[in-house]
Amino acid sequence: MSPTGTIPLAFESFREHLDEHYDRRERLIKASRDITAASKKIIFLIHRVLNEASGDDRALSLRAAEARRRLAEVRLIMENVAHELDGARFWRYAQNISGGLQEYIEAFSFFHYVECGGLVSYEQVQANLSDGAGQPLFPVPLSDYALGISDFTGELMRLAITSMSKPNGRTRATQISEFVRGCKADLETLTPHIHDLYKKQVVTTQSLRKIEEAAYAIAIRSSEYELSPWMLDHIVSQVSEDKES
């Protein structure tokens, strides 16, 4: 065997360095998963609220308060791991938390759309992810913003499709597809710079087609017959079920 020289000694500090790195990465991946799971639940909650939407304003505002509270909870997870991401560390681990961050942006923008109407801006997202003094917890990567927004438009399309089969839902569906078309056009200008965005754009196009075809079915049927609103709803629900399957 070799004499025990100075080489193994030097490796002790590398072991410490690597252990620290692997442990931190592990913690951040876990936080990212937690953020993703909680954000998904918020998205479902908003869907439920909108689908159930009755005339009862009080119930509606209670559910909105719940969504807001849960969003704050998710934000807190990020605030709690922000110290692991200070300074140069952020970019080292950005890819490990980007999954959770995108999902959060998706939920946040969905809530924003329902509450305030319109698209949440990049600055608003960064402002949300800042501390009390207005200092960013970490710099929100533009790519995560764009990808989160793209996923959010997917949620909107789902909402439009389910709305269509409901009485009075067609106006909402038309508004949503107008909005998503606008978002898609905006995101299109960003695709050369953001990896993965192109694929999501393809998916958005597909969902747009889905809803356009449903709108077409409505237009055709209504021109052919003097349909009662009830019949119209029935036909539309059949078309949208076909599209979803």
């Binding site: 070799s2 490796f11 692997y22 300074g87 140069a88 952020f90 080292r92 200008t189 953001i194």
Partner: protein, 229 residues
């Protein structure tokens, strides 16, 4: 999207793209230098022991010329963004690290420490967060050296240097012991570490061949090694 907002995002992304181009220009310069280094070092496989110092002397100006490109890179990278751009220069930096480490081993049989490799390449401590030699790249460089030494063990014997495999063997085993102390996860470093045992096996075979034929006596080499360490 608000047109102003979209404009802002586009501007930021455009800026990043241009920034990347600037970094890339420096990286290309750096890459060219590392090619020269590796092509000089490749000659060790066909250079008799007595001519090795001259070969290493030829490397020195190339190492020195890296200081300039290192400074240029450090200047281009914004504070705290080293990891955002690091992928761009990982390959040449590892190649340069490999060259410094191999040259040092050929000079005095030692493993150059991380700070001394950084110093040789002109990477300053105060650039941390912008441009630095991180332990991961240093460790990758070491593994490349052992990969190369298993080849050198063979070629040294061909050139009549029968002691070289013994020196290489001691060095490689120490490095292996060092790596065994790390708790590696299933990543690139781990996979490359796994290749070390094949190199060590190859080196041992060469040692076996030269000792079996009494081309070198083990006791001599042992004292030789001890006096070095």
């Amino acid at each position: 999207m608000d047109p102003r907002d979209l404009g802002l995002i586009n501007e930021l992304l455009e800026g990043e793209a241009q920034h990347k181009e600037r970094i890339r220009e420096h990286v290309v310069t750096f890459e060219k230098k590392t090619r020269v280094m590796t092509s000089i070092l490749d000659k060790v496989h066909s250079t008799p022991k007595s001519d090795i110092p001259a070969l290493l002397e030829a490397l020195r100006p190339i190492f020195d010329s890296c200081h300039e490109v290192a400074a240029a890179l450090a200047e281009t990278i914004p504070r705290d963004e080293v990891w955002k751009w690091k992928d761009l220069w990982t390959t040449p930096l590892r190649a340069a690290t490999f060259s410094v480490l191999l040259a040092r081993f050929l000079t005095d049989g030692t493993l150059a420490t991380l700070p001394s490799v950084a110093e040789q390449l002109g990477i300053r401590e105060e650039w941390k967060g912008r441009f630095s030699l991180v332990p991961e790249d240093y460790l990758h460089g070491i593994i490349s050296v052992i990969n190369e030494l298993s080849r050198l063990a063979v070629n040294a014997v061909t050139l009549g240097d029968f002691e070289a495999p013994l020196r290489i063997s001691v060095f490689a085993k120490e490095v292996f012991t060092g790596f065994s102390m790390l708790n590696l996860k299933n990543d690139a470093l781990r996979r490359r570490f796994d290749t070390l045992k094949y190199d060590i096996k190859k080196i041992e075979e060469v040692v076996y061949d030269v000792t079996l034929r009494k081309l070198v006596s083990l006791s001599e080499s042992a004292t030789d090694v001890e006096s070095r360490s």
